[in-house]
């Protein structure tokens, strides 16, 4: 349905998007996962036509993306881009009209969208009186007004309470199940895991890995992560841990106090680890065993967490 081919963007000498490519089939949900500054929003801005790209291209079917094709795309920007003194309904009507709906169509659709985002009863209230989560829901609603074929969401859940976040994720999931194709960017691994069929992991302007959730986790050397948080750094102890049989890789974060040990079989490694901890006097404040996930994939690929 849409194909992004070797997209490039530089600001001065700084290359912010480097040959980003991915392809989406109709009805598919594709996630762009990466930390802040990875180049996700710039990629989205280029797809939306807001930022011109320096190289590569975007194809809708086999045609280059044109302004008229924007009618088929709904965009949920990262910021709450709404008119605060207007009511939720007025905002929806306005954005519907901007996408070519007639006044009558917009009115009908606004009621439907208010129901989708769960704000029917508060539709007449000014957006400025809403909580952050409710504003985010209207922000999404505005992109749904013209019933787009492709919905692009750029970190739509930033800074909201868990209840609103869940509501949004459920809504988006339903839309996707109803056949809407979507691109979803986030630095929350759980959201992307929950919503997306395929994921592209971005860092420093590049897609460093892409595939389904399973495919990505399969790439993980030592699928399980045992995370140790220490009270104080202990270099010798960590070296000893790295030497343990069954430990494939150790990454260090937060001033040498958080260690992620990638292991294939946690049961076999655990006893050896305990012995090393005691032997080297490593003061452990907490220990956690994490099943293979996208966070671990990102960690192994970049040596950093998504929230760094």
């Amino acid at each position: 349905m849409i194909e992004v081919k070797e997209l490039k963007k530089s600001y001065g000498q700084k290359e912010v998007v480097k040959d980003v490519s991915f392809k989406l089939e109709k009805g598919e949900a594709f996630g762009l996962l990466g930390p802040n500054g990875a180049g996700k929003s710039t990629t989205i801005a280029m797809i939306c036509g807001l930022v011109p790209y320096d190289g590569g291209g975007i194809l809708w079917g086999d045609q280059p993306m044109s302004p008229s094709m924007k009618r088929r795309v709904g965009i949920v920007p990262q910021e709450i881009a709404l008119y605060q003194t207007m009511s939720a309904r007025e905002n929806l009507l306005f954005w519907g009209r901007m996408y070519g709906l007639s006044r009558k169509e917009a009115k009908k659709r606004a009621d439907e969208v208010l129901a989708i985002v769960g704000l029917t009863e508060r539709g007449k209230e000014a957006v400025e009186t809403f909580s952050g989560g409710m504003k985010r829901r209207v922000n999404i609603g505005a992109a749904l007004m013209h019933n787009p074929e492709l919905l692009i969401m750029d970190e739509p859940t930033v800074g909201i309470d868990p209840q609103s976040r869940n509501h949004i994720l459920e809504t988006v999931k339903k839309l996707n199940h109803a056949g809407m194709t979507m691109i979803y960017t986030s630095h929350y691994m759980e959201e992307v895991e929950f919503l997306c069929d395929r994921v592209g992991i971005m860092d420093h302007g590049e897609v460093i890995a892409s595939g389904t959730h399973k495919e990505l986790c399969r790439r993980l050397v030592g699928g399980t992560v045992i995370r140790l948080e220490l009270e104080e750094a202990n270099e010798a102890g960590v070296k000893a841990l790295e030497q343990l049989s069954g430990v494939d890789q150790v990454t260090v974060q937060e001033e040498q106090k958080v260690y992620d040990c990638f292991v294939t079989s946690p049961h076999e490694v655990m006893s050896g680890m305990m012995e090393t901890v005691v032997e080297y006097g490593i003061k452990v404040s907490s220990m956690e065993v994490q099943e293979p996930n996208l966070e671990a994939v990102f960690l192994q690929l970049t040596g950093r967490t998504l929230r760094d």
């Binding site: 807001l50 924007k70 709450i80 881009a81 709404l82 009209r97 901007m98 996408y99």
Partner: protein, 390 residues
């Protein structure tokens, strides 16, 4: 384009604080300035009530004529004193506003004699007017004298004519001219009729507050940029000229709504007559609002911060309003400032409104209206180009 424009008008109508300042403030200021300064505009009260204290030679007929016939009027009364000291005392006690000391036999040496005018520092305007009347009288008498002299010389040259009676007849006729009050009262007139203070300040405040739309329109674009709604608009299928055009029309529509309401309010509340041709009033209002809306787009293209626009709104508009005659009529400014004023669009608009109030033909208005449209178009294009670059 129209959807964006209507949204902008709706947003501004919802802003109660903005509405108060854009609709009620001009009405209030018109009421205050129009009432307080109406004296400067009415024909009968162009000079405040003034008492002039005079010493003069009672045996001199021209001095007597000036004191008893030329100077007194509806607003001016003349009190005579025996000597300078008494005039000064009366001035000190504020029994008189201006003192005039006419020398003995002033009428015979009018061209060369010095007349002393004693001035109360607080009443310089009255003193200036008395001086002006005095000079005008001297000029007229001198003109009569010179003409009579010339007339007598010509008669003598012809011969066979009694020079003395003929010259006396002429001087008698011309003394009427010397006594004339022409030029004594300065009235604020334009064309055939004068405008009242309320009329002038209704037009002046209307023009000034319409000018605020330049900063409000610019601010609206910068706010949209700040809140990312402008970016969201740019992601819709509409092209940039639709968006800028929508913002332009929004500013224009609100300006017209504001102007229409102000027009109705000043007419109904203060019985301000905007002239007999309402179509002309609307034509000027429209072209001026068009220029202001263009300036708004240009400002949005040039300025990056909302605070800068606020400063321009606070100071820049006031300066333009002052130079454009919204506070004090431009005629009261020195010539150099009047030249600057003539280059300011709000002055053109105010001038044209006053023209219409006093009765103007379409041909008198075309040039200014064309200039206003050109300003609007030029600034709109400039703003659009700059905003696209951004």
């Amino acid at each position: 384009m129209f959807t964006i424009a209507m949204k902008d008008v709706w947003l501004r109508l919802k802003d109660k604080r903005g509405l108060v300042s854009m609709l009620l403030m001009p009405i209030l200021l018109t009421a205050i300035l129009g009432s307080a300064l109406s004296g400067n505009f009415s024909e009968s009260a162009s000079m405040p009530d003034t008492t002039v204290g005079v010493t003069f030679d009672e045996d001199d007929s021209l001095s007597k004529q000036w004191v008893e016939e030329t100077m007194p009027g509806d607003e001016v009364s003349v009190v005579t004193f025996a000597d300078r000291e008494k005039v000064e005392k009366a001035l000190e006690k504020q029994e008189v506003d201006v003192g005039v000391l006419l020398p003995d036999m002033w009428g015979q040496k009018m061209a060369t004699a010095d007349v002393t005018v004693l001035t109360d520092p607080d009443k310089t305007m009255q003193a200036s007017i008395v001086e002006a009347v005095l000079h005008a009288y001297i000029d007229r008498v001198n003109a009569v004298g010179t003409t009579a002299e010339q007339f007598a010389e010509e008669l003598s040259a012809v011969g066979g004519v009694e020079v003395t009676p003929e010259t006396e007849n002429l001087v008698s006729d011309m003394s009427v001219l010397a006594q004339s009050n022409e030029g004594r009262v300065a009235t604020a007139t334009d064309g055939g009729t004068s405008v009242t203070g309320m009329q002038y300040y209704a037009a002046a405040m209307g023009v000034m507050f319409l000018l605020f739309n330049a900063t409000i329109g610019a601010r609206s674009i910068l706010e949209e940029r700040h809140s990312e709604t402008l970016a969201r608009l740019a992601m819709t299928p509409h092209r940039s000229f639709h968006i800028i055009g929508g913002k332009f029309i929004g500013t224009l529509l609100f300006s017209l709504v504001q102007f229409g309401l102000f027009l109705a309010a000043t007419h109904l509340m203060f019985q301000v007559s905007w002239g007999t041709n309402l179509l002309q009033v609307f034509a000027i209002g429209f072209t001026y609002a068009f220029a202001v809306s263009g300036i708004a787009m240009m400002l949005a293209g040039i300025v990056k911060e909302e605070k800068t626009v606020d400063s321009i709104g606070g100071i820049g508009v006031q300066i333009l309003a002052l130079l454009g005659g919204s506070m004090i009529p431009v005629a009261a400014f020195p010539d150099a400032i009047q030249i600057i004023s003539n280059a300011i669009p709000n002055n053109w608009a105010l001038d044209q409104f006053v023209h219409v109030m006093t009765g103007a033909a379409w041909s008198d208005l075309i040039l200014s209206m064309t200039a206003l449209v050109m300003v609007g178009l030029g600034t709109l294009i400039l703003g659009w180009v700059r905003l696209q670059v951004r």
